[in-house]
């Protein structure tokens, strides 16, 4: 959320501006109710959000093995991870590859599914349920399931490949195929994107299509000049959310590969986890976490900035 939007938000709730210098009895009653209502939330906010954020800033500038006293070392953690840590760059590489393949493929797949679901099909509700189902079940169970699917000897993946007379790869046991395996698996959970796109599709006014039909446009032309532009704000939103989510991949790697083989699936959050909770380099792990946050923040900003060129907002005047 941008700061200007935040200000507009506050301004929109204008009753706050009419605050009087001296409180009447009624206003005091309201203020007391306000403090009581906000206090559990405020306590949670302070303990679980604000203090940890400030602490994380400080911890990232220290050398700290949890049992010892933190020692202030300035920016040395950041210096180390940028110039002196091959594993950090490996984890960046692995995570970025995952995001680059996962996000566009899952967006295309979920858009295609949403377009299908938007047709007059028999059993549409049943299909929507089936398509969405994989997105709700626990990731740990999903991971266990896919370990078994990717099993080189007995798994169903290689059994299918064997039908064509080819011996399939070792999948999650191979440093070359582990990352592609996790990407393939992530495409199984396209239901969330489909639901978001479907809601967007249903918001496109039918009269646009009717007008285009009268003008003699074919299906493809209608898709390019009505559906895509009208859907573009939803696409942008889904892409940004998906990028943010994909950068945080952890559970699948933790369960299925443990970051291996040969660090082929050492995603950034897993690397943070290792540093903090296996090697107890708390300071270094905090620095890594901030770097991950900055990377995601910069990519999101670039996406939002570039979107001005391709996202069409209905109701905003074009041209000029």
């Amino acid at each position: 959320m941008s700061s200007s939007q935040a200000q507009a938000d506050l301004a929109g709730n204008g009753r706050a501006g009419r605050r009087r210098p001296r409180m009447s009895g009624i206003a005091r009653k309201e203020a007391i109710a306000g403090y009581i209502a906000i206090s559990p939330w405020l306590l949670g906010f302070l303990i679980f959000q604000l203090v940890p954020i400030l602490a994380a800033l400080y911890i990232s500038s220290t050398e700290w093995r949890i049992l010892s006293v933190p020692e202030f070392i300035g920016l040395r953690n950041f210096d180390k991870l940028l110039f002196n840590d091959d594993l950090f760059w490996q984890s960046i590489k692995v995570t970025v590859i995952y995001v680059i393949f996962r996000v566009p493929f899952s967006a295309m797949l979920s858009l295609a599914l949403a377009l299908l679901m938007n047709q007059q099909l028999a059993g549409r509700r049943l299909f929507r349920t089936i398509y969405y189902l994989p997105a709700v079940i626990p990731l740990v169970a999903v991971s266990m399931m896919w370990i078994w699917i990717f099993n080189p000897e007995y798994g169903v993946m290689n059994s299918i490949i064997r039908v064509f007379g080819i011996e399939g790869p070792q999948w999650i046991h191979s440093s070359r195929w582990a990352l592609p395996a996790l990407i393939i698996m992530s495409l199984w959970q396209v239901g969330t994107g489909m639901v978001i796109f479907l809601a967007g599709l249903q918001g496109i006014p039918a009269h646009l299509y009717e007008a285009a039909t009268i003008d003699g446009a074919n299906t493809w032309q209608k898709f390019l000049s009505i559906t895509l532009p009208m859907l573009s704000p939803v696409v942008l939103f889904a892409l940004v959310m998906n990028v943010i989510g994909s950068f945080q991949i952890f559970t699948q790697a933790y369960i299925m590969t443990g970051g291996g083989p040969g660090n082929a699936t050492l995603f950034l959050v897993l690397y943070i986890y290792r540093n903090a909770f296996e090697w107890f380099h708390m300071g270094y792990a905090a620095a890594l976490a901030w770097v991950l946050f900055l990377v995601v923040l910069i990519i999101s900003i670039i996406m939002l900035r570039s979107s001005e060129r391709w996202v069409h907002y209905e109701g905003r005047m074009g041209g000029a």
């Binding site: 959320m1 935040a6 506050l10 009753r15 706050a16 309201e30 203020a31 109710a33 306000g34 403090y35 209502a37 906000i38 559990p40 939330w41 949670g44 604000l50 940890p52 954020i53 994380a56 299908l116 007059q120 028999a122 299909f127 929507r128 089936i130 398509y131 189902l133 994989p134 997105a135 709700v136 079940i137 626990p138 990731l139 169970a141 266990m144 370990i147 078994w148 699917i149 007995y154 059994s159 969330t192 639901v195 978001i196 479907l198 809601a199 889904a238 959310m241 943010i244 945080q248 952890f250 559970t251 933790y254 369960i255 959050v269 986890y273 903090a276 708390m282 905090a286 976490a289 946050f293």
Partner: protein
């Protein structure tokens, strides 16, 4: 006309094939959960076990402590979701409706920190829980989940859409601010509360990261943690693991099928996942 019909049939076919492809892993898991170890490792793969091995489920419950984990997960998720709805709705109510000095400062501070993700705060959170001696307790699992920045924001947006004239009418009728909260705001925000409830249910039920950090003893394992530990065991009994996974999926699937409409609309509403 003929062309259109063919098009419709092929679309229907594609949809059905896609659905079959998505269901395939599920069926594969269920089938494996009912086989013997020999059947699981047979080639070509066996789809229908000669005799369904329901004992795999018993083994999963006994060996991997799935029964206890199911209870733990149910307790933790219920308390967290209900608690989160109360804490967040009270906070959102204060932000949306009640005027008090300092409110807008707090809200700005809140907006400024809302974007900071979980993986940044988790290191200090862990050290806090650790130094408070709360490792291996329900408290460690429940308390951090009670507070949700996203949830508060979502509910505040909802509350802002409710006309203030309703508040005023309640006050004129002699009600106080708690009556407004209980009898005006909450009943009119069912969709928002439902959406938040579903998000936090899925998030808390499915999460592994936090339980891995703060729980050590078997008696307190949540379902994802119990499954993860089963996977980490030296002897891998695939059929029993699959039975455990099926058990972990059942509660979520049942709730999803019951509340399907709310699930779909809550995703479409805020488009946010976890």
């Amino acid at each position: 006309m003929n062309l259109r019909r063919r098009e419709a049939i092929s679309l229907q076919l594609i949809t059905a094939l896609g659905a079959a492809a998505l269901l395939f892993p599920f069926l594969w898991m269920i089938s494996a959960s009912l086989q013997t170890l020999q059947e699981v490792e047979a080639f070509p793969p066996i789809w229908i076990p000669a005799e369904p091995q329901w004992s795999n489920y018993v083994d999963a419950i006994l060996n991997y402590n799935i029964g206890r984990a199911l209870i733990n997960s149910a307790v933790i998720t219920t308390v967290s979701v209900v608690g989160q709805l109360i804490v967040c709705s009270l906070g959102a109510y204060a932000f949306s409706r009640l005027r008090f000095p300092g409110r807008d400062t707090i809200f700005l501070l809140f907006l400024a920190t809302m974007m900071i993700p979980h993986y940044v705060t988790i290191i200090p959170l862990y050290t806090m829980v650790w130094s408070a001696g709360l490792i291996d307790t329900y408290t460690a699992l429940i308390f951090p989940g009670l507070f949700s920045p996203f949830g508060t924001f979502l509910l505040r947006q909802f509350f802002n859409q409710i006309p203030i004239s309703l508040d005023e009418a309640t006050l004129i009728d002699g009600g106080n601010h708690w009556h407004i909260y209980l009898f005006v705001i909450m009943p009119l925000s069912r969709a928002g509360l439902g959406a938040l409830g579903i998000f936090s249910f899925l998030g808390i039920w499915n999460t592994l990261f936090w339980p891995v950090l703060v729980i050590n003893s078997k008696e307190l394992f949540t379902l994802p943690l119990a499954l993860a530990m089963a996977q980490g065991q030296f002897v891998t009994l695939i059929h029993v693991q699959m039975a455990g996974s099926v058990i972990a999926c059942i509660p979520v699937i049942v709730i999803f099928l019951m509340l399907q409409k709310q699930f779909i609309s809550s995703i479409a509403l805020s488009g946010m996942k976890q």
